[in-house]
């Protein structure tokens, strides 16, 4: 193993230079501590700085992300070559099963449209989605959010829901000009009103910076079983109703909440779509 060799001699400081350096160090530590304390009050200027830095670095992060993802995909694909035949037959079986569900969904969709017509149901505005690439994520322990390469210029605004092909990802927390930050449903600041299980009981999905969020404020008589589906309820107006979120897991968290397994595969989240507000049937969006 290599040694930490002695490098070129560092120029000796004069006493004045050393004092100035220490004073600067102490000042910066004080500023950092001050920012941490003041930041608890959700100071707008800090959010603005975060947005501006995100905007500034978006092109660089985008340039770094593309080759890194390509390299990662090559690596993971090589690992899968051996299991390709087995995976192919599994996918064929799954495809056949999904075709049956597709036929059923089409039949129910037609039935639904007919019933809506009979009831003169107003489906609301047309839904528009904005596609974006994930350019930075914070798998770090203190926040669960990601940065995407679409911002105000593309029509992204705070509090819009963000989805992937699998389900709800989170909501737009702040939007810059060409980038926006998405608060994931696993972040401890995330609170999503949801409906759980076949009885559609109301609850709040709360993150804890872990991989699996949990349900809070469940009614005492709520009988949920592992595998029960959780969808957004639409209460509060931030998230449209009907977006698939996840399934009820087996474990119950120490705080008493029920653990949810999100539908989104965080390890393969590359593209997302931002839902421009509307009140139509959002379940169709994630199945497209």
């Amino acid at each position: 193993m290599q040694e930490h060799r002695a490098g070129p001699e560092v120029k000796a400081e004069t006493p004045v230079q050393a004092t100035l350096r220490r004073a600067m160090f102490a000042l910066l530590v004080t500023i950092a501590l001050g920012a941490l304390v003041i930041g608890k009050a959700e100071v707008y200027v800090f959010d603005w700085v975060k947005g501006a830095v995100g905007d500034l670095l978006a092109p660089v992060l985008h340039a770094v992300t593309v080759p890194v993802r390509a390299a990662r995909d090559v690596g993971s694909n090589l690992g899968r070559v051996a299991a390709l035949t087995e995976e192919n037959s599994r996918l064929r079986a799954e495809n056949a099963r999904l075709r049956q569900w597709q036929a059923l969904a089409r039949r129910l969709d037609g039935q639904n449209r007919e019933l809506r017509r009979l009831l003169r149901f107003d489906p609301g505005e047309e839904v528009r989605t904005i596609a974006a690439r994930v350019i930075a994520d914070t798998g770090g322990p203190y926040a669960r959010s990601l940065l995407m390469d679409a911002g105000g210029r593309q029509g992204v605004r705070p509090d819009q829901a963000v989805i992937s092909g699998e389900g709800l990802v989170g909501r737009v927390m702040s939007a810059g000009v060409r980038s926006a930050r998405v608060l994931l449903i696993t972040d401890r600041r995330s609170h999503v009103p949801v409906l759980a299980g076949p009885n559609r009981v109301h609850a709040i999905l709360v993150g804890d910076n872990g991989i699996r969020p949990h349900l809070r404020f469940l009614p005492r008589n709520a009988a949920l079983a592992p595998g029960d589906v959780v969808v957004t309820s639409g209460r509060g107006g931030v998230f449209p109703p009907g977006l698939p979120v996840g399934d009820v897991g087996t474990a119950v968290k120490s705080g008493g909440g029920v653990e949810i397994v999100p539908h989104v595969d965080w390890t393969r989240l590359e593209f997302v779509r931002v839902v421009d507000r509307g009140m139509a049937d959002f379940t169709s969006l994630v199945e497209e």
Partner: protein
């Protein structure tokens, strides 16, 4: 003129490499799983080897950039990087000229203390004691990847700085 430019470019190597390490650690490699804090290793390496080329304001700015992109509590990573800088500077004698294992052990202790500061700062910010599982995973990855980071930086060190000395 060219000599000045060449010297300035060489002096920028530590800062540029720390910035690149930060960018690489923020890119979505494996999604929601923990990623090593590569820039912490970078700050520790250069602060021990060439403290004159890693000024505190630069490290502070790197920390705020990390806070901004990673959406960490504003000031948290700036504080952590400053701690690593101060610790590495004061422990230079334990790293420079010593076997690599000694430097690695010193880094592990500094990284552990930095993780504790980050955890305490984040818990204070959110007003609740956060889980220690995820910070522990980040710490483990950071310590395990240190030889690779230090190896790459040592090559840069030799190529860009030693030859100019």
């Amino acid at each position: 003129m060219l000599t000045h430019l060449d010297r300035a470019a060489r002096a920028a190597v530590p800062g540029a490499s720390i910035a690149v390490l930060l960018l690489v650690s923020l890119v979505p490699w494996i999604g929601d799983r923990a990623a090593p804090a590569l820039a912490v290793a970078g700050v520790h390496y250069w602060a021990g080897r060439r403290p004159d080329l890693v000024p505190a304001p630069f490290v502070f700015a790197i920390g705020l950039t990390h806070d901004s992109v990673a959406d960490a509590p504003f000031g948290l990573m700036a504080l952590v990087y400053l701690f690593v800088l101060g610790a590495a500077r004061s422990q230079r004698f334990l790293v420079v000229g010593q076997p690599f294992a000694a430097g690695w052990a010193v880094f592990a202790v500094v990284a552990l203390a930095a993780s504790a500061i980050a955890w305490a700062g984040a818990s204070f910010y959110y007003g609740a004691a956060l889980s220690v599982g995820a910070p522990a995973a980040v710490l483990l990855l950071t310590v395990l990847t240190y030889p690779v980071v230090a190896g790459v930086l040592a090559v840069l060190d030799t190529a860009a700085l030693r030859r100019s000395a």
